[in-house]
């Protein structure tokens, strides 16, 4: 995992420009604004996060990593929030029981959102300092996608010069 043959070296804080730091921090901070705008339809903030990711991913690996990290971390939270909206509507409109399962789910969604907020703030502060921060699973996943050296040698050429 740490071998330089497989992975691009991680930039150190003094190698990351201010602009990159701000873009990386923006990936986390933007999520808060999108999340607030997405209520009560949490899927909207996820769409905003995807757009932000595609705009920023080509800027630098540092920004790409943080954008993907933030996007990935938001995905399960958004799914949980959508589930909560759906469940609430079923209780309200279809008479579903406000069961212990539902109460436990609400508790879990609250904790998930709190954890997401707290860790996103920590990650945003780290990104502003030109540093990395890895969430459980999502950090490793984003590192793997962004910093792994991909074998780009073509296996077969499709476009060939004339006459060949």
């Amino acid at each position: 995992m740490s071998g330089t043959e497989e992975y691009y070296p991680l930039p150190q804080p003094d190698e990351v420009s201010i602009r990159e730091r701000e873009d990386a921090m923006g990936a986390y901070m933007m999520m808060f604004a999108a999340m607030a705008a997405g209520l009560p339809l949490p899927i909207i903030n996820f769409i905003a996060a995807v757009i932000y990711y595609y705009i920023n991913k080509s800027k630098s690996k540092f920004v790409h990593f943080h954008s993907l990290h933030s996007l990935m971390a938001q995905f399960p939270t958004s799914i949980l929030n959508v589930g909560l909206v759906f469940w609430t509507l079923r209780i309200w409109l279809s008479g579903w029981e406000f069961s212990t399962y539902c109460k436990a789910y609400i508790g879990m969604v609250i904790i998930a959102n709190l954890l997401y907020f707290i860790f996103s703030i920590v990650a945003a502060v780290r990104a502003r300092k030109g540093r990395f921060y890895y969430f459980l699973f999502f950090g490793r996943f984003a590192y793997e996608v962004v910093y792994r050296v991909k074998d780009e040698s073509p296996t077969s050429s499709v476009n060939l010069p004339p006459g060949s």
Partner: protein, 271 residues
């Protein structure tokens, strides 16, 4: 790397599974206040309300005659013997009123209007209405509404002998409109009880369908039965309720027209 990713994913799932389990098994969210009132106290409140209503409500006169009483005994016995474990002693009274209505008071006190009996075509339909009201009792919906409306403190003061608000309490209990969730719960309970009592739940559907056809939908006199305008869903649920294999409907051995003519009443065609 893939193994580490998979391990991380498992850890994440375990963390959230543990959080869910914590909230499931540890009662962090406050329980419904209705559980603060014991069944014994509910019985006492029910007795106080029944006495108050019978004494102070001129509109509510209980009808009783041997034919009607024995018919109700047959219907209620079939239902109550199939309830299973229950903490309530049910008392069912017939009220002289042309309204097609029924209501429930705390402590298993159910009131059925003669208008409803006249409108019914057979005892199974009345059994369906009773099963629905029993559902409200068993799920403690009336107490839940009273607790929400008046608060625990006021109810306990009634138990302690404060009878000043008893009239207000009785008025609220009679006119209680249950919410959609409670109606669905009571319907589901009723269907299950009817099946156990060898009564086809379609009896409820046929009753509601006739109400809809003959009264044209929502009627202010049907507040208890028709708390919500979308009762097509309730008719559908009654028809589609799963019946166990080998289920057969057992008719009540009652001359229903004779029962209906036993009280000075109202012609069913007046609706």
């Amino acid at each position: 790397m893939k193994e580490k990713l998979f391990t991380d994913l498992l850890k994440l799932a375990a963390v959230f599974g543990a959080i869910w389990a914590f909230f499931y098994f540890v009662p962090v969210f406050p329980e419904d206040d209705v559980f603060e009132i014991s069944i014994e106290n509910e019985d006492k409140i029910g007795d106080l309300l029944v006495n108050d209503i019978l004494l102070n409500s001129p509109d509510i006169t209980v009808v009783s005659n041997p034919i009607l009483d024995s018919a109700f005994e047959v219907i209620t016995f079939r239902l109550i013997e199939n309830i299973g474990l229950t903490e309530y002693d049910y008392t069912i009274r017939v009220v002289d009123s042309p309204d097609i209505n029924a209501f429930t008071l705390p402590g298993g006190n159910i009131f059925v209007f003669t208008g409803l009996l006249q409108f019914s075509e057979n005892p199974a339909e009345v059994a369906a209405v009773l099963a629905h009201e029993i559902g409200h009792v068993e799920r403690r919906h009336v107490m839940s509404k009273l607790v929400k409306e008046f608060g625990l403190g006021l109810l306990f003061s009634v138990l302690a002998g404060d009878v000043i608000i008893l009239g207000e309490l009785a008025k609220t209990a009679i006119s209680t409109v249950f919410d959609r969730r409670q109606e669905t719960e009571a319907d589901t309970y009723a269907f299950e009880l009817m099946v156990k009592s060898e009564i086809n739940p379609t009896a409820m559907a046929s009753f509601f369908r006739r109400v809809k056809r003959e009264l044209g939908g929502y009627d202010e006199n049907l507040e208890i039965l028709m708390s919500h305008p979308h009762y097509n869903a309730r008719i559908k649920a009654a028809i589609e309720h799963d019946l166990p294999e080998g289920f057969s409907h057992r008719e009540f051995d009652l001359d229903w027209e004779r029962v209906k003519s036993s009280f000075s009443g109202y012609e069913s065609n007046e609706f």
